[in-house]
């Protein structure tokens, strides 16, 4: 489908595709096995200006928004949804600063993100997943500082990122109104990292605990105001869910591409399996679902970038729809590959593993459905 991209957006897409095909493709399996953080690819993303696309021009960016971030994420994900996450999660980590940072914070941090500094966003804890209000990490005021204590779990880019947006409770008595968002830099005394998680998929990304032990953070590092932590988190996630959706669309498209190639090569009963109608119909369904998801993602991203305020429902819809779609499509891809599909020598089993997380993180699809449902009776 023609999405009428601008010249600049076409340049972004073409270059992101080159990065994926020329630089990521040869190392996909290496990172899937090792589980290391793909620094070499992140450096290429930085050098090619990929981190600039979603940063405002006044801070060294190219002035794009969620849509451009989604376009890049989709292209990278077509080849590796795991490696793409290092990029996309930087977008997530930077979003609170883009939305709520004051002039000084934006100048200091966004210009670094534009140059390729990796970011992370830390909300989840072991007891606070879907129920984010059950957060245990605290930030106690001490003069001009806040003292952070607690552990954040499953933080993408943890340990690798230099800039973290951390949500912590400054006033437990106020419940969800007692949370505050802080910018914390790696290297701050009292801020350390737990073990790296060994994951089912997206293994080309890093997931770690963030551990705060009497970590002193200056009050100038607060985003928005004390007590606005949840608002910062919710508004951020509303704007980054299309990124997860784009990752899902990319993974699914990558799986379809692999199927198109394989079905032409693989022969059974004396002809290529692409000539069987049953296969053709499966492929047609995959293509159709992918395009539907892509349309929803692009529309949502453009809606967000146009400045619309009430976006929770569309954001939830595109993430939920695209990730469920990716799971179906990659599962079918494994089916089309048959026995080979189940083997690590072929690319689709990894795509299936990678797709699964998109139904889970940045709000499970069950939570997304709650959000969507809650809007249905509203006028």
């Amino acid at each position: 489908m023609d999405y009428f991209l601008t010249e600049k957006q076409k340049v972004i897409v073409e270059l992101a595709r080159r990065i994926a095909e020329e630089k990521i493709a040869p190392v996909v399996s290496k990172y899937d096995i090792s589980g290391e953080f793909p620094w070499e690819i992140m450096k290429i993303c930085a050098q090619t200006d990929m981190f600039r696309v979603f940063i405002p021009e006044e801070y060294g960016g190219l002035g794009g928004g969620v849509f451009e971030m989604a376009l890049v994420t989709e292209e990278l994900s077509k080849v590796c949804g795991g490696i793409a996450l290092g990029y996309a999660a930087t977008g997530l980590g930077a979003m609170p600063i883009i939305l709520f940072g004051n002039e000084e914070q934006k100048k200091e941090y966004l210009s670094r993100v534009a140059e390729g500094t990796i970011c992370a966003f830390a909300l989840t804890e072991s007891e606070a997943g879907s129920d984010a209000s059950n957060m245990k990490t605290t930030a106690e005021k001490d003069g001009g500082y806040y003292v952070l204590n607690g552990t954040k779990q499953w933080i993408t880019n943890g340990g690798e990122a230099d800039i973290y947006t951390v949500i912590a409770m400054t006033d437990k008595s106020k419940g969800s109104r007692g949370a505050t968002a802080f910018i914390v830099e790696k290297g701050t005394p009292g801020f350390s990292f737990g073990v790296k998680e060994d994951k089912m998929g997206i293994r080309g990304s890093t997931t770690r605990e963030l551990i705060f032990e009497n970590c002193r953070v200056h009050k100038n590092q607060i985003l928005a105001r004390p007590g606005f932590g949840y608002i910062v988190a919710l508004k951020t996630l509303d704007r980054t869910r299309p990124g997860v959706a784009a990752q899902a669309v990319g993974i699914a498209q990558g799986a379809l591409n692999a199927c198109l190639k394989y079905t032409k090569e693989r022969e059974q009963f004396g002809k290529s399996i692409a000539s069987f109608q049953v296969i053709q119909h499966m492929l047609a369904d995959m293509a159709m679902k992918i395009e539907a998801a892509r349309s929803l993602v692009y529309c949502t991203a453009r809606m967000i970038d146009s400045g619309a305020d009430d976006i929770s429902r569309e954001s939830a819809m595109c993430k939920c729809f695209a990730s469920d779609m990716a799971m179906e499509v990659t599962t079918d891809a494994v089916q089309i590959f048959g026995g080979y599909g189940y083997m690590r020598d072929y690319p689709v089993e990894k795509m299936m593993r990678d797709a699964k997380i998109t139904q889970i993180y940045e709000g499970t699809n069950q939570i997304q459905r709650n959000v969507i449902a809650s809007t249905l009776w509203k006028k």
Binding site: V11, L15, E22, I44, Q47, T48, D49, L62
Partner: protein
């Protein structure tokens, strides 16, 4: 640091296929690309600029279509590009080419470092770089695998030779031809591509723009001439051995011994 990179546009010989019937080159749809070795020269120049400041200029000689490749160099981040294009330059062999490029470099002036790729993949001569250095009366080092050290006056490089390597120190200005091992060329950047698209005034120098002896350029300035070009016969029908693996191997070893090659 004022750095010049000499770049050549070449057909992508990876895409050149042979028409089995006519035994001729099929060039339809073959892209023109920056000579792969020259990408490494451009990359090295950009790294030196990042380290030491200064300016990177890419020059190339050829028809106007080379502008596309020069724009690609801009998209990688070079500061300036210049095309030498004139019918009078056509038919140049390596001597005339190196002379012409050396006159352009002389015109640019105040050059500290000239970088070339080891060779071009269409001609594989590797002669233009040292030729330029001779015409400019400066030193050159071929097959550079690494720049070890550089300051305003001198450069130390690791240069591969057939049975090992040499560490060579040369005074600036100097011309280096670089190997692929020297670096990994970068992709273009978004800002670079946007800049290259906006560039519509790429300087094109003709013979009139250069202080040049017209007897030494183009076909007339080229001592060598190609008198015939043949496409080597490729299609030799293979003797495919039959039978089980043991038999196949036996047949092969027998054939090799009969031919006295083993």
């Amino acid at each position: 640091m004022n750095i010049i990179v000499c770049m050549k546009q070449v057909p992508d010989t990876n895409e050149v296929k042979i028409d089995k019937k006519t035994n001729t080159l099929m060039r339809q749809g073959v892209r023109s690309i920056i000579n792969p070795y020259d990408l490494h020269a451009i990359e090295e120049a950009l790294r030196l600029r990042e380290k030491m400041g200064g300016k990177v200029t890419v020059i190339s000689m050829g028809p106007l279509q080379v502008i596309e490749s020069l724009k690609e160099a801009v998209s990688m981040g070079v500061d300036e590009v210049i095309l030498l294009s004139d019918r009078a330059f056509a038919g140049a062999d390596t001597l005339a080419t190196s002379y012409t490029l050396s006159r352009a470099i002389d015109k640019i002036g105040n050059v500290d470092l000239i970088l070339c790729g080891k060779q071009a993949i269409d001609g594989d001569t590797a002669q233009v770089g040292p030729g330029i250095a001779e015409h400019l009366d400066i030193a050159h080092v071929t097959y550079v695998e690494k720049i070890i050290d550089i300051d305003e006056k001198e450069i130390t490089v690791k240069r591969l030779v057939d049975d090992g390597y040499q560490i060579i120190k040369a005074e600036l200005p100097v011309l280096l031809t670089v190997l692929k091992e020297i670096n990994e060329p970068r992709l273009p950047s978004i800002r670079g591509i946007l800049r290259s698209r906006e560039m519509d005034d790429i300087p094109v120098w003709t013979a009139d723009d250069l202080d040049i002896d017209r007897n030494l350029i183009g076909l007339n300035g080229s001592p060598t001439q190609v008198i015939s070009v043949d496409t080597p016969q490729l299609d030799v029908e293979a003797r495919i051995f039959e039978g089980d693996y043991q038999t196949q191997v036996d047949c092969l070893l027998k054939a090799l011994m009969e031919q006295k090659v083993l």
